[in-house]
Symmetry: C2
Subunit: 170 residues, 2 copies
């Protein structure tokens, strides 16, 4: 499955006022804690991959993301499983010599519009962002850029770096 | 968590007649399919570790097993999470460059007696075995060997190799 995703730095109030005009549907609000790991021998920072375990309340996920596929958005291959235990998954990864890199904590609000999911993020230490996402087998870059325009997001505010990369760059 | 486990080759009818005399409780019968993986850079056959995904009906598990801790039983550190998808977990492991080694298929019957779980296995291509298991923070080898005697299992029939090792040795 491809994860078709774009991210931009935003003014939270401004985008919310735009979202309400467009008639988005509020989905949910949650706190997410992500621990990122590096591969035993491959440097994910260089290969542009990511492996993380996510905690959302009492639900946990293990996610792999492949390298980005274009220059503008963050579209990439993604594989995810829900897991029964955050701590046991962490132990498994440590035993396999994956190295803990950093933890990202954020508050996220999800909204739906057309076939897209819009996530408004408050990221600890990094600020406010929007992530626009669509899961699909095929990737149509134009559809995404048109949708971003509609939301009033300017290309200069696009951010292709992951929160992890941004955190490590500080 | 330690997985305190011993395995032995058995005559299925003989051990079943012993089990019924001892008043075991039948728990469940299931088919298990395990795909074993090797580490991108470490040879698990040498380090005596194992990583597998298991399919049992519609339930799936990801399990890491550390090296064996004594000479007689198969006691070792174990970490396991239930996962939502067998195929996605397989994809994640492949993307992380874990190599698929072999698939073990077996029919397993679980019985309970005292604090132990007794598994009677029919392993495709390998034959009939009993695995006696106890999950505990502390390991008492005597307790295990006494229990095995009680089941009528002789030390010469003990098998410390995993099914994977046995399959690969053929």
């Amino acid at each position: 499955m491809l994860e078709i995703e774009a991210k931009a730095r935003i003014n939270r109030k401004k985008i919310k006022s735009r979202l309400v005009e467009l008639g988005v549907k509020f989905l949910k609000r949650e706190k997410q804690e992500d621990i990122y790991f590096n591969h035993p021998t491959r440097d994910f920072a260089k290969s542009d991959e990511a492996l993380r375990i996510r905690r959302v309340g009492r639900e946990f996920y293990l996610t792999y993301k492949g390298p980005k596929l274009d220059k503008l958005t963050k579209t990439r291959e993604e594989h995810e499983v829900k897991i029964s235990s955050f701590e046991e998954a962490k132990e498994i990864l440590k035993k396999l010599k994956f190295r803990e890199v950093a933890t990202i904590r954020k508050k996220r609000e999800y909204y739906a519009l057309e076939n897209f999911v819009i996530a408004l993020d408050e990221v600890e230490g990094l600020g406010s962002f929007v992530e626009v996402e669509k899961k699909a087998g095929q990737y149509n870059p134009e559809e995404m850029t048109n949708f971003l325009k509609k939301l009033g997001i300017k290309e200069r505010d696009f951010e292709r770096r992951s929160y992890l990369e941004m955190l490590l760059a500080r």
